[in-house]
């Protein structure tokens, strides 16, 4: 019944995830989104320190109508660096965080995934799907004890 409470982020996350450089171009980030079906990709320096997060929404935001040009220059924006569009103070979680608390965060922040950081270094990423899977695992293997007042 309560097995889920035993889980930590490290039990459910994807370890050593694909990350992108802040000097990569938005066009490269788009290829990554397209090939991997990521919703967001962590941005790291050479030592894999987490310095940002680029979600599909951040990517789209770069192409919004703004006050600098009457129409966005779509081709030029594709050549911009990831660091110009990323969230440079991204939320992250530690691997030891109870998964129940991570679940709270995902819902409250309405984000699809969060990077997992240990000593400043990116060690994983955890998404909706990872938590769904953990919930299934935590509930499937055990019979649910009938409680008083239940009809069966």
């Amino acid at each position: 019944m309560y097995e889920f409470l035993q889980y930590q982020v490290r039990d459910a996350m994807t370890a050593d995830p694909i990350a992108i450089s802040p000097r990569a171009k938005l066009r490269e980030a788009e290829s990554l989104f397209e090939a991997r079906d990521f919703n967001g990709v962590p941005v790291v320096d050479e030592k894999r320190h987490l310095i940002g997060m680029l979600t599909k929404l951040d990517f789209l935001d770069a192409f919004r109508l703004g006050s600098r040009a009457i129409a966005p220059h779509y081709d030029e924006i594709m050549e911009q660096l990831v660091e110009t569009a990323m969230d440079s103070s991204p939320a992250s979680v530690e691997p030891q965080l109870p998964l129940s608390r991570l679940l709270q965060k995902l819902v409250e922040m309405r984000v699809k995934s969060l990077p997992v950081v240990e000593n400043g270094r990116l060690v994983g990423i955890i998404s909706h799907q990872d938590v769904l899977k953990a919930l299934r695992r935590a509930t499937l293997q055990h019979e649910i004890p009938a409680h008083e007042g239940s009809r069966s």
Binding site: L65, G66, S67, R68, A69, I70, A71, H73, E76
Partner: protein
């Protein structure tokens, strides 16, 4: 009496490059619609070129020289990322400004009540000393200055319902109380000017609208801001910067006007013109980038201008009370 339509074939030769939203097909769509039977009474006239004297009432001589010198013999030249010129752009821009001056002349000579200038490039972003935002010369401002200088008018109003703020027209007029400039536009998009607190010498009325504003908000803006300002000013002539990009289907903005809103707004402006200045209105095309929406909106606008001249379109007094249809 009569509504005039000013245009010139060279305005369709102003080539801005592949895929550019401010394209010749915009005029083709509008003119195609205005050639149909309901518009048989429109009197078509060829737009003359503006003179340097007409242009330099608004622009610096250096701007006029520099802009015309940048027109390439072949290919394209980008004045900025938005503003592309090609071999026929200079003549098109001169005809666009000339159209408005000719419309002002014809109306003030009593040859017609009002006019629509179906021209491009558009004008209202062009600053006195800077082309920008698809615009080379500020056609509406040049027409307004012409009404003052050539016809001695003392109070000329420019109403700008393009979805973008007409920074050029505001700059041209913000120190001169002989002009009233009124603009509705979407806040926070290009060009970033047009805040409510930009008031000039009390002669600038900016009505920024938030994204997703529509018919109801337009009627509120008219009742609270636009009509009172016009009544206080008592214009002797009204110019309209008629951009149709506040339409709900336009790709470059997020306001939700419909073609019927342009009919409604044009009727309101025409009623003010009838009351204060014998119905004298010269309207000039600015933006509008969804071709079917642009054509339908321009049709509604010109229909309302024509109806105003026949006196048939007595605006329904209830409809003027700020009610959405």
């Amino acid at each position: 009496m009569t509504t005039l339509l000013y245009t010139h074939p060279i305005c369709q030769e102003h080539d801005t490059g592949y895929g550019h939203p401010e394209c010749a097909a915009r005029l083709t769509a509008i003119l195609g619609a205005l050639k149909t039977a309901p518009f048989a009474a429109l009197e078509w006239r060829e737009a003359p070129s503006a003179t340097v004297e007409q242009l330099t009432r608004i622009h610096t001589p250096a701007h006029v020289e520099r802009t015309l010198a940048r027109i390439p013999k072949h290919g394209y030249h980008a004045i900025d990322g938005d503003t592309i010129v090609s071999p026929h752009s200079g003549e098109a821009a001169l005809r666009a400004a000339g159209a408005v001056c000719a419309a002002v002349d014809a109306i003030l000579r009593g040859e017609a009540d009002n006019a629509f200038c179906a021209v491009r490039p558009p004008g209202h972003h062009a600053e006195p000393n800077q082309a920008m935002g698809f615009c080379l010369f500020d056609n509406a401002a040049i027409g307004a200055a012409h009404a003052r200088a050539a016809h001695g008018l003392e109070r000329v109003a420019v109403i700008d319902f393009d979805v973008h703020h007409g920074n050029g027209t505001q700059t041209a007029f913000e120190h001169d109380p002989a002009y009233l400039y009124i603009s509705t536009h979407q806040a926070y998009i290009y060009p970033g000017t047009g805040r409510r607190d930009e008031r000039g010498v009390g002669n600038i009325v900016n009505v920024p609208l938030l994204a997703n504003s529509g018919s109801t908000d337009l009627r509120q803006a008219w009742a609270r801001d636009i009509e009172p300002a016009l009544r206080q000013f008592k214009p002797q002539f009204i110019l309209i910067s008629a951009g149709f990009d506040a339409h709900r289907m336009d790709p470059l903005a997020e306001l939700d006007f419909t073609e019927d809103d342009y009919r409604w707004l044009t009727e309101r402006i025409a009623a003010i013109a009838t009351e204060f200045c014998r119905g004298r209105i010269a309207s000039v095309l600015e933006g509008g980038y969804n071709l079917p929406a642009l054509a339908a909106s321009a049709v509604a606008h010109v229909k309302a201008l024509m109806a105003a001249t026949s006196g048939l379109a007595k605006p329904d007094p209830e409809d003027a009370n700020g009610r959405a249809p």
